[in-house]
Amino acid sequence: MIAFKDILDQYQPEEILHKIKSITSRDVEQALASPNRSIWDFLALISPAAAPYLEEMAVKSRSLSLQRFGNNMQLFAPLYLSNECQNICTYCGFSLDNKVRRKTLSDAEILKEVEVLKSMGFDHVLLVTGEANKTVGLAYLKNAIKLIKPHFANVSMEVQPLDQEEYEALIPEGLHSVLVYQETYHRDTYKIHHPKGKKSNFDYRLETPDRLGKAGIHKVGLGALIGLEDWRVDSFFTALHLQYLEKKYWKTKYAISFPRLRPFSGGQEPKVVMTDRELVQLICAYRLLDPDVELSLSTRETEHFRNHVLKLGITSMSAGSKTNPGGYAVEPQSLEQFEISDERSPEAIASLLVKNGYQPVWKDWDQALQYAE
């Protein structure tokens, strides 16, 4: 079967931009009416021509999400283990050229953070690090998962891309999901924002979900960092990637995130700004394309936005997040990766969900389900 790299290279970003401009309301209506939407229907739904149809999209998206996921919202929290990083990324607070104190949590510190997260009610945790193979390489991650596994029903990870064998070593330890965002699918733009470090290798990152699929991971999270490139073009490629992966690694579940570039000290201004209205359009379009894909919303977004968009297709939310290592207990003042916007406590988010007729789901996995001999 053809590799995703070859599929991606069949399309020029400029050609997709041009296509988006030529979409008419007729195309949008057809896409809305279709019982089985294609990637081209998705493109129509994220186009400016679909803007007047936003309410209709939202109604459809909500009903599809309810049918497939019920009145449930998965809650999780990130646990930043380290801000050490050998990469230069123009938009990230952990970038190598950002002169800040670096911190990697010790075993005792990890357990202190775990204790706080547990007291907040979390049972799903997302481990996050920068990319620094000497300090937070395979051995560190393996140890961290071993340490954390007895305390959480579900352990996910958002760290540097690894080799297939490395994933194969972590999955039996209790790793359930891996998030790896391509940031942008535009090769030239990617080069500009990732000038140094292992992350500058576009193709190695692009093929990470393949390595994860081959390793038999339960869930892969995809996404583009919105603001680096035209969001419509990048979202089109994200959807294309999703469709490729779903066909090829059919035992794996997929989730999509749509992080909008957030300010941090000394950081990059977004090249393209995406409005709230446009983000709602994108969320609904993903749901209309794929009723089963998980859609995740972080605390980057504002209270007001999260209060309302939770009903439109989102299936998981983080709450009370700290984006700095030690942020919950050990060293609350250390440098954060980005500023969060919705600072409400997990308890407040849970009662917001209840008020909206949603059941906050703290646990939707069990280590017993991925039992390995």
């Binding site: 309810l66 049918q67 497939r68 996921f69 019920g70 009145n71 449930n72 049972d123 029903a153 339960h218 869930k219 779903e246 059919w250 035992k251 794996t252 579940k253 089963d292 209840v354 007729g357 949603y358 059941q359 789901v361 646990k363 939707d364 996995w365 069990d366 017993a368 389900l369 991925q370 039992y371 001999e373």
Partner: protein, 254 residues
């Protein structure tokens, strides 16, 4: 009355616990449904904690818990999960769900057969969730399944009895109870399943996601009762032709 393994049931409506807006509406819906067998996903239960909120809402003398293995992808994982569920929920009943495909949640027949055989040997009451495959149902029966749970259409799809022709064959051939599971979207789907002779149905999404889950649960209860009663009455055969009231061959006996 319906009997599965050594247990008898007044109600032929089995229910689930997922997707409800809150535990109170889940509890009320299950109560009004009169369901006596309620499936619970191991993944959703806090088996390590002392008290699980969901289980607390299911504590009723009429309700028997049916743990399911949703999330496992192989027979080995299913057997392990079933044992854990048995310990945590103190029951040897298990609904075997092995769907390696997370999109449509369609069951893996090969792994399901293997796990059924193993768990039945170990003394479990196994109710496997499967595609509406008549041969697979016979194979499951032979290796000790207590009932079979063929699907009407994919889980959560609300598409009704898309597999009806195969369900008829399964019902005709089965020596163990047939529980139509998955895809029943409205009460008429459940009634139709009962009319063709299903022993019971399992309904979750259609109740949990309804605007009023409690009234929808009652509607399903009535539909299942009506469908069963109609089946027991031996419905008149449907026909597109009118029947002559004085038979054409009557002259022969004159």
């Amino acid at each position: 009355m319906l009997t599965i393994a050594n247990k008898t049931f007044q109600s032929r409506l089995f229910t689930g616990t997922g997707k409800f807006p809150n535990y109170t509406s889940m509890q009320e819906a299950i109560n009004i449904s009169e369901s006596e067998l309620v499936t619970v996903a191991l993944r959703r239960v806090d088996i390590k904690g002392k008290s699980d909120d969901m289980l607390a809402h299911l504590s009723h003398p009429r309700i028997n818990l049916l743990p399911n293995t949703s999330g496992v992808r192989t027979a080995k994982e299913a057997v392990f999960a079933a044992k854990l569920a048995a310990e945590a929920l103190e029951t040897n009943w298990v609904k075997l769900e092995i769907h390696p495909d997370p999109k449509y949640l369609l069951p893996d027949p090969i792994e399901t057969l293997k796990a059924t055989e193993e768990l039945a040997k170990q003394g479990f009451i196994v109710l496997p969730y499967i595609h509406a495959d008549p041969v697979l149902c016979k194979r499951l029966e032979e290796c000790g399944a207590a009932a079979v749970m063929p699907l009407g259409s994919p889980i959560g799809s609300n598409n009704g009895l898309k597999t009806i022709d195969f369900l008829r064959i399964i019902i005709e051939q089965s020596n163990i109870p047939v529980v139509v599971d998955a895809g029943l979207g409205v009460p008429s789907h459940a009634a139709a399943a009962m009319e063709i002779g299903a022993d019971a149905v399992l309904v979750n999404t259609a109740i949990a996601v309804a605007q009023d889950p409690v009234r929808m649960a009652r509607a399903f209860r009535m539909a299942v009762q009506a469908g069963r009663e109609a089946y027991e009455c031996g419905p008149a055969a449907a026909s597109t032709q009118a029947h002559s009231s004085s038979p054409l061959t009557e002259f022969l006996s004159l």
